[in-house]
Symmetry: C2
Subunit: 298 residues, 2 copies
């Protein structure tokens, strides 16, 4: 189901990445970081920012995320590569309209859910110009000020349903991600959304719920602040994440997230039952089983 | 309930920390790290290791955790300060026996639960020689090889029921913790165990349960390995923690942990209900509420 080999051909495009004009739509954490990386390392000829918030437009220029800010139609007309780095609800409204506008430009998105966006443009005459991607990098912060130059390096990017993208479009996106230091993984959109629920979306739900647990039960902020050690911060930090990004992800990946969340509640109930029944042998087994994560996380 | 001021007097002991002979019982992550810090920075005259595992005794000497290894009785007789850094079940069997042995030596423990150990020796004639502490530092690793010199610095240590320790014993422990760069917080043992359930113990349960969820549902280890980003690692890393340490903690702090765990399951059910009913307005509210953790975690 997963391949890291397929489609990684030696890139043989007419234009190398450093000669591209790239438009980034959405200059928050993800789009802003991409702009910084491309500009900082001279990996694009020209970066154009599109953002519906005037304050973000200004910040994108100040922070060196983009060379200029343009309205979306002008930006598309001037670009070789158009990158959508918007929340996945905004992606749904923008992607078909952008494909309506393009001639031979390449359009890619960086969203955390893939099946619904891909389904939306499955029959679009310009479907081949679109490459669906999900770089596995992020932080709990949002907005242009959260963008960092060190983003993406050594992480994986998933490219979904690559066979439905035109070869030259796919190559351009492959070359861009490789240039910023990412390695490529290929899978279909259905598999992506399922795996993303396990390795990313559920972590956010548990973190939000843990924050709410502590905020509900622990009325002494000072106690948390003084006592919280690395372990607490580690499990709760994702709870700072922006709802404008996460509500649409949970909505679009609802069935997978519900499935994993149900399993997670079942697993927590096992711990609860061990404590209630004072069954410490089984508690030991549950923890030993959890230690199996060492196989995966070194 | 919490005070960071009380009892922090200018230390006025006969012996400064650097002149002490310190015995560390248990040379794992916590005791081993304390030995490294004391020896590396010349903060003790002599460090003696006591450990019931021969391989740990050997490692303690090799790693520079201690200057010598002795049987427990000899170690106690030679020491000014005896530090118990063992799992909290072992603490229960060792603490009364050690107090039986001491003359004017000081005994402290570094365990994650406090009420039960303190209760156990409440009426011991040498109760005053005992100082109950909990340094808020740890990692998911265990054993002497996990010990690090950078441990403890800039973190808090809780001292519980300080008024029941002799003044000179308390001062010695205060000076030792201050010398290794920790700041001191004072609370009673009941409050400590409650707060510890919120800011540490529940994080471990959620992490163990999340690991079990993913290991149960996601049969493709390769997919987790390739896709897992910082967020997943952050919420799951505590699941590597040692059951020999954590089962006794959950057992001793059972009622508080159950109380917080019940609340956590309730909070997760709210997320589940939002998704089932497609109530995205309430989902937004739940996440906005969770964002309140920003008040506490900067």
């Amino acid at each position: 189901m997963i391949s890291t080999e397929k489609h990684i051909n030696k890139v043989d495009t007419d234009k190398t990445v450093s000669l591209l004009t790239v438009t980034i739509i959405g200059t928050g954490l993800i789009g802003g970081s991409l702009g910084l990386v491309l500009k900082d390392r001279g990996l694009a000829k020209h970066v154009i920012a599109v953002d519906n918030k005037p304050e973000n437009q200004q910040r994108a220029l100040e922070l060196g995320i983009a060379d200029e800010v343009l309205p979306i139609k002008e930006a598309i007309a001037k670009s070789d590569l158009i990158v959508l780095a918007v929340p996945v609800d905004a992606l749904h409204s923008l992607l078909p309209a952008i494909l309506d506008e393009v001639q031979d430009q390449v359009v890619m998105d960086m969203g955390s859910t893939k099946e619904s966006a891909i389904g939306l443009v499955a029959d679009h005459p310009k479907r081949g110009r679109y490459v669906a991607t999900h770089p596995m990098w992020g932080t709990e912060y949002s907005g242009p000020a959260a963008a960092v130059k060190t983003a993406f390096a050594d992480k994986a990017t998933v490219i979904c349903d690559a066979e439905n993208s035109d070869e030259d479009a796919l190559r351009m996106v492959q070359e861009m991600y490789t240039a910023i230091g990412m390695h490529l993984i290929y899978m279909n959109a259905t598999a992506h959304d399922l795996h993303a629920a396990y390795v990313s979306h559920i972590s956010h739900i548990t973190s939000f719920a843990l924050a709410n647990t502590v905020l509900e039960k622990e009325k002494e902020d000072e106690a948390i602040f003084e006592l919280a050690s690395g372990g607490f911060e580690s499990t709760v930090r994702l709870a700072k994440s922006n709802p404008a990004m996460w509500v649409p992800i949970f909505k679009q990946n609802r069935e997978n997230v519900l499935d994993v969340l149900n399993e997670h509640i079942t697993q927590l109930r096992k711990f609860k039952s061990c404590l209630e029944k004072e069954n410490y042998e089984y508690l030991q087994e549950l923890i030993e089983n959890a230690n199996g994560i060492r196989r995966i996380l070194k």
